[in-house]
Assembly symmetry: C2
Homo-oligomer: 141 residues x 2
DNA sequence: CTGCATGCAAACCGTTTGCATCCCC
DNA sequence: GGGGATGCAAACGGTTTGCATGCAG
């Protein structure tokens, strides 16, 4: 039912952005993706990357992750799942904790909001940062 | 054990910022708080508000909420609880859903991260926005 | 040929920071 | 009088946007 071609053209830029995003299991920021895409399309503009990520997110082709930290991150896996974010380096990974689908029922009873969904974000220290662990307040990437 | 006076001076600005934050059940952005505080301290600077919010968050006196949306929000209630965010107007409210404390155990089994905590953010449409509901893509405050 | 999409650069917005001054201890 | 805190304004970083050009249908 979702034929993207009805909604917008499938340009080279869009295809490559989506390909590069699908290629990685990390959840890159727009800038990281820009760098990845630029290796194949050196003349692409940052604005194009942002515009297309936004467009694809609106059409449910990808996920825009509103996780902690200053930058938004993008995810080619659109099925429901949770994330964990490294408190040291800011990296975001998938985490395989079962989705608690009845949370929205508990929520519905607890508020007068009309519930749309929920999201869980874990925080922790990633394996890479566990070694060099001297303080908790390292730089966020 | 946490005597803030050991850590930093309790200036008028800090007291009033904390008072104003404690006064509301919403979770104001730094700018909203700046406006609130300015009514009592007209010459206070935005930078002072940011610096003090940061400082108080570091000392566990308040919570810095890293919820969706572009702006950070602040919360004088430091005990564990979840939030719900209006998909239309961006407002953030507390939601009285019991904290799932054993989530971090499930998480620990599912990742090689060293788990520190978790957070749940619900999304929905707030009562105020339910009336004027014509599209889902309204402006974010 | 028409209009959507792009590249580029400037604008924007929230936040941070440098610096001179202020004020509490 | 000394050091942290403030007010102010400029800088910053991520994202958005306006505009002239390009290119696919």
């Amino acid at each position: 039912m979702n034929t993207p071609s009805n909604m917008f053209r499938l340009t080279t830029q869009r295809q490559i952005i989506l390909e590069e995003l699908s290629k990685v299991k990390t959840h890159p920021t727009a800038n990281e993706l820009y760098d990845m895409v630029r290796k194949r399309l050196p003349r692409i503009g940052l604005g194009t990357v942002y515009r297309n990520l936004e467009l694809m997110a609106e059409n449910g082709m990808i996920l825009k992750l509103e996780v902690g930290g200053t930058q938004k991150r993008f995810d080619a896996t659109t099925s429901d799942h949770y994330h964990i974010r490294c408190a040291d380096c800011g990296k975001v990974d998938d985490i395989d904790v079962p989705v608690i689908s009845n949370l929205i029922n508990s929520a519905a009873n607890a508020t007068s909001y009309n519930i749309l969904g929920h999201n869980i974000e874990f925080s922790g220290t990633c394996p890479d940062c566990q070694g060099s662990q001297m303080n908790t307040t390292a730089m966020e990437q």
